[in-house]
Assembly symmetry: C2
Amino acid sequence: MRSQGTDGGLAQAVIRRFNVLRPLSESAVAALEQAVLEGLFRAGPGEDLVAEGDQIESVRIVLSGWLFRHKTLEDGRRQIVNFILPGETCDAHAYLLPSIDHSITTATPVAYAEIKRVRFEKLMASERTLAEAFMCETLLNNAIQREWAINLGRRVALEKVAHLFCEIYERLRPVGLVEGNSCSFPVTQMDLADATGLSVVHLNRTIQELRATGLITLRDRTLTISDLDALKSAALFSPTYLQLYRRA
Amino acid sequence: MRSQGTDGGLAQAVIRRFNVLRPLSESAVAALEQAVLEGLFRAGPGEDLVAEGDQIESVRIVLSGWLFRHKTLEDGRRQIVNFILPGETCDAHAYLLPSIDHSITTATPVAYAEIKRVRFEKLMASERTLAEAFMCETLLNNAIQREWAINLGRRVALEKVAHLFCEIYERLRPVGLVEGNSCSFPVTQMDLADATGLSVVHLNRTIQELRATGLITLRDRTLTISDLDALKSAALFSPTYLQLYRRA
DNA sequence: TCCACCCATTAACCTATTGAAATGCTGGAA
DNA sequence: TTCCAGCATTTCAATAGGTTAATGGGTGGA
């Protein structure tokens, strides 16, 4: 494992995440850093990186910025099914499938690394810990998606929104993007509504309510959680599904 | 690839599924059949195969019967996040994570094969096509989970239920469990309610409505879809996420 | 044969959330 | 400096879906 305190370069976020999820060997870290350096890209906000139906031939790792996965019904109803945050992976292994079932769109300017399929497969074959880390990434994604199912299906509006805030906050923390009790939160209320399955109007009311009870501040694209424990309990939030802590 | 017409033995369902998802080599089929034979188990209805928080050390493949994945909130609200049908896998690769985030419970009597972690890893290492098939299984699971998110978040009651019926029907078809326009549907309305995020009462109302419009019959644990196209369009169902057809 | 128990169904009432539409705010382009 | 576009906010009427509770049917066990 590698010193990650100050820098670690561009790949810092990924490496931090992986080391929490599934520790990397020294050579894996080096190989990953190398691969990231070789395929750097940037995208502006509102760009589609992947569209439903695409066939993909590479894996992308987000270095900075937010994206979201979403699906849209014929009549325009949209559901954001997950956010993709710095250090997270877009589509590990997804080149195995003939087509992608959802779209990925940037919410902010984004920097990402792209690793071509062949390169990626070689990397997986030669670096066992890295292969396991990417595998865990996919499993974790699955777990998050399940938690979203219960969020959408069984929580009431206030709980849904509170839960989303808790989750994002806890996902940003290990990559060092939480400062004090605040983090960046660069999405519109429309996006938030589509992520929680609410109407914009009701989402707005719900946020007012969270503000009124003093649980959060959301202003200038910044989320501040005044009382994290209170918010968690309002959300019935239990972080185990995020696999943030390694077993002993 | 192997003759799978009449029998194929116990592993028939899995092999059929995999061959649609990601074709297996002849040796992979043999190795899989072998592994399945070595670890056969049965469970009665209502048994927990996996409970939230467990750490698992094997992979299970369902040979017959239904199970479901579910999560429960502190106050008892429950969400079924997915069903597991014959030929599907419980937890490929999940031994990599320190703990499982959800529970798996049988809905009916179930026969399944259990492959221990070490055995499974060896199998993956020696049979490339099998490793890819299991990987696809995990990816597909992910895709289904996303579709459930939009089902729970953005469809109205009638659409939700209709969509669930369409999905299950299409998932049972490739393993040969659809006969004519009917399939077994061995779950209670309470389970159905928890799968669609509705109350039992409203779920019942919704089913009445589907019956009244002549779209389905649901009786004696059997679902009959009189007009599949009509049901699909009522559900805004688009099957691409199920990856049922191989690319050319 | 009767009793429990589980599941499906129905009814009546209630409320969380939606939808439409108007108002205001803010920052960037011209 | 003005104007426009994209967001946030508010109001109000409408409704999908929830809650509670009662009823009925079927089935397996004593």
